[in-house]
């Protein structure tokens, strides 16, 4: 067993031959039990990972703003993403225009779905955007300060600011919160410069319904 032998040192030679020095042994086994009991307790009651968060900054709503002032967006910049049921995404490029019919398409979340489309759309408008990822990785690996990363990112984005992709995210009543978080996540993964969560209009709900049966 686990013990400490407390011999009491030397200097006991005087005594008779037969007399043995009695060692004091402390059994450590219960202490091991106690230690592991406490470990188990801490493992069960505490959480290791601190939850992560996404920071959202909404614009200040301006009730005096007129409806036509809101849409200064160029059709070439705009991309609208509808989040709908069964983890599906309906998206189209451009703006609603009576003269030009839209070509909405259906895709899904994930690497080969919306991410590919967003990456391509971003790349087509500003090929330099691809290098943001390199800066991002460098910042993550501490090879670059966060300030430098933001400076570089801004420099790249400013080169084609008037062409840059603007994504409008519209979630209908059948989509889930996971869909919303996923799409916001895709925005940060694909380095989309500007995106907004916008309320869906009844006409758009009908549009999505007509595409997803």
């Amino acid at each position: 067993m686990a013990d400490i032998e407390a011999g009491g040192g030397g200097g006991h030679k005087k005594g008779s031959k037969g007399r043995k020095k009695k060692s004091v042994r402390v059994d450590f086994t219960p202490l091991v039990d106690l230690g592991f009991l406490l470990i188990t307790f801490f493992m069960l009651t505490t959480s290791m990972t601190r939850p992560k968060t996404m920071e959202i900054q909404k614009p200040k709503p301006d009730p005096n703003q007129k409806e036509d002032e809101k849409t200064k967006l160029k059709a070439s910049q705009a991309m609208t993403i509808f989040l709908t049921k069964d983890n599906k995404i309906v998206y189209y490029f451009g703006l609603m225009d009576p003269n030009k019919p839209l070509t909405p398409e259906v895709t899904n979340y994930g690497v080969d779905g919306i991410r590919k489309i967003l990456k391509k759309a971003n790349h087509d408008r500003n090929p330099l955007v691809d290098s943001i990822q390199i800066y991002k990785d460098m910042a993550r690996l501490n090879k670059m300060t966060i300030e430098d990363y933001h400076k570089n990112r801004k420099r790249i984005e400013d080169q084609a600011a008037e062409k840059a992709l603007v994504v409008l995210i519209k979630a209908d009543d059948t989509s889930t919160y996971k869909n919303l978080v996923d799409i916001l996540d895709e925005m940060s993964i694909t380095n989309v410069r500007s995106y907004a969560i916008v309320d869906i209009t009844p006409a758009e709900v009908q549009l999505v319904k007509s595409i997803i049966k």
């Binding site: 686990a2 493992m43 990972t49 968060t53 920071e55």
Partner: protein, 200 residues
Amino acid sequence: MARKSTWVDMTPFVDVAFLLLTFFMLVTKFKPSEAVPVDTPTSTSQIALPDKYIKMTVDKKGRIFFSLDGKIARGQALDKIAAKYTLSITPEEKATFMNLEQFGVPVNQLKSFLDMTPDQQKDYATSKAEGIPVDTSKNGDNQLYQWLKEARLASPDDRIAIKGDRNANVPIFNKIIKTMQDQDALRFNLITGAESDSQQ
């Protein structure tokens, strides 16, 4: 012949056990008690949650639960709400409220909720609780708005965080966001779990 006993020295084992214990004590954090189970979605975001925050939890049924850090802040918020809705809260009920991590009852049920025993409260939260009403129509009684307003007054430095269940529907979040926008709370955090396949 006397059998030789096998002594296994346990001392290093004790060392290991306590080393691990120290590690767990330092690295982990106590799980906050949750009234309802919430399965958060994952994201690749690396931003850690601040230590103190006002939290609105949405469970999968779309019920809203509210939590505010700090007992004094909770007490202040309760006093204001009680005054606004003309509730007579006894000191005992206030004490119960100050110890409450999370609550999700309409104001008119708050008093009876606070009179329950902790076990009953737990039961109530999982089954019957309606969540805090959020009515964003023009003249509606938006109780979440009032709670949020008082919570922000009681602890002005706290960030606002929304913790939602992955299967909750989006409209309730739009309502919460609108409630926040109505009182110029425009910066907020969405609590998510960490995702392992972060890039590509």
